[in-house]
Subunit: 324 residues, 2 copies
């Protein structure tokens, strides 16, 4: 990049204080070193966020930073991994100024402290297009212990952490729904959309307990369908058991249609998982301090079925499955 | 991403055959596992390429793929690392069709075979902007043995692999220079720009021999200035010793001005390094089958000096230092 050299040098200075690991060399080298941890595998994941697609141009820079980091941390959480560090690839349109970058870096810094992981390295470039950021996150798991999507077995229970649909409600509010909603509910739901909470302690506690897990990004039903597909099983969810927040009830009401909408909303970043032992799950949830709800069961077969209170299958529109 | 689900599912199918490592799970999971290698650290690096900035919209898709992978491999090479795998974050404008993706994936596949590393995972998303791709590459080095930028000492020699300036010549040709140049020279120089060769065997051979190293991406002088800065030394380069290809001579002639232009051209992806022992360097070069040239020496002080044949310092325009 020859076009904005001094600016990029400034940007490097803004990010250097975030490179707190010895192996990051204060961002002065071409690459970083992540020391091996004896007896551990490394779990690696990458997620891209594009302005206008995954966030809005006028979203606060620190919340964009946090969301980008947290969606990656959420992947590590669902896999049972402990965060080790991350790399940041940033493509900046010309209108982004140093103030914006500083606010963005402050968001990263806050979350690095909260979730105990350093910036290891990155790359900054100009783009004639929208702001685009790719984060690659790395974490440690005891060798062979990553919780996979494949592994759900007939007879297992199906579980989810937290509540379902809040982020979808938050996005709906940002798009103009719920004008009559109270300020507290608005803040709660939009906060769930803007800054999700990766369930790291729970994920680590589920190693050896969960037979399959992932984080809910596409929507509960769509994501459980991923588990069903790669595990070669059928997953049955009872709509009534779905954990449904008071704030979302205030926004959407509590009808079968509203619950279906929640079950097909994305961006909650809760952990959905299957496990054989209810007691072991409850113990892990208690230890992590995270509410976990049993939603249903794993059966032989394929696909996901959502049942109403009478045990009848609710038809899920295809859109609930095809988010990507 | 809800807008092009079936297309993204197809894309996943195109990339799945590249995910040859057991820990990539055929791209069916949220994350990949990279098993620790006993006694090794992991070296990690990320580079972004943006259409219109780092490559042209009508460049062949397979050469875009190769360049993206190779600029990352070149970082691993300069650090002495052995490739372990990579992640790909791809932001696709709507006009990119499946044929393009297939050609792109073929380029990746060819280079995975050539350089022996698997795709571990990735993320694909839509973008309203230019095609943007971020690759994160990972490699193994014996613990503590990564070759750093910091480490050059007064009395060391200064070296570079291959020839200098060819990629700059290739870019000049693509922009319209050298209309009278022969087809063979054109192909050689544009090939150096489009598809660089990461010097992996040489880099691994330089572990314990090079005191500092990096790959030449910004330009020889600018990159040596990075070594000088973080090592706290002065680097002196004799322009006449700079390895200068016959093809580049045919394009630019061999004047001090042409050599200065070569020394300040980017994208060669050769390894520039410092080392105490000329003999050890020559032995490593012979073993790797890569030509290496001694360019000059490390002294006490700061900055980079380019000397003409009379030992006078050639003034390097500031642009030669401020590429980023």
């Amino acid at each position: 990049m020859a076009d904005r050299p001094s600016e990029f040098a400034l940007i490097a200075e803004v990010f250097a204080p975030l490179a707190t690991a010895p192996g990051a060399f204060g961002l002065t080298d071409d690459a970083a070193v992540l020391p091996a941890r004896a007896g551990c595998d490394l779990v690696v994941t990458t997620d891209v966020l594009v302005e206008g697609v995954h966030f809005l141009a006028d979203d606060p820079p620190d919340s964009i930073a946090k969301k980008a980091l947290r969606v990656n941390l959420s992947d590590l959480a669902a896999k049972g991994a402990e965060p080790a560090g991350y790399l940041l690839a940033l493509s900046l349109p010309e209108r982004i100024d140093l103030n914006w970058i500083e606010d963005f870096a402050r968001g990263l810094g806050d979350d690095q402290t909260a979730f105990d992981l350093p910036l290891l390295g990155g790359d900054t470039t100009a783009t004639p297009g929208p702001l685009t950021l790719a984060i690659t996150a790395m974490g440690y798991v005891p060798a062979g212990k990553m919780i996979r999507r494949a592994g759900a077995m007939p007879g297992d229970g199906v579980f989810v952490s937290g509540t379902v649909g809040d982020a979808g409600g938050g996005l709906a509010i940002l798009k103009g729904e719920g004008a009559a909603l109270g300020a507290s509910e608005r803040a709660q739901l939009t906060g769930r959309y803007r800054v999700p909470t990766p369930r790291l302690a729970l994920g680590q506690g589920l190693r050896g307990i969960a037979s399959a897990a992932l984080d809910v990004s596409d929507g509960l039903i769509a994501d459980l369908a991923h588990i069903a597909e790669v595990s070669g099983v059928r997953i049955v969810v009872e709509a009534e058991r779905m954990p449904y927040s008071a704030a979302l009830r205030a926004l959407w009401g509590d009808t079968p249609k509203a619950r279906l909408r929640a079950a097909t909303s994305g961006d909650d970043y809760e952990i959905a998982f299957t496990a054989r032992s209810d007691n072991a799950v409850l113990e892990a949830a208690r230890h992590a301090g995270v509410p976990v709800t049993r939603l249903g069961r794993v059966e032989a077969g394929s696909g996901v079925a959502l049942l109403d209170s009478g045990g009848r299958e609710i038809t899920v529109p295809r859109a609930g499955f095809t988010h990507f």
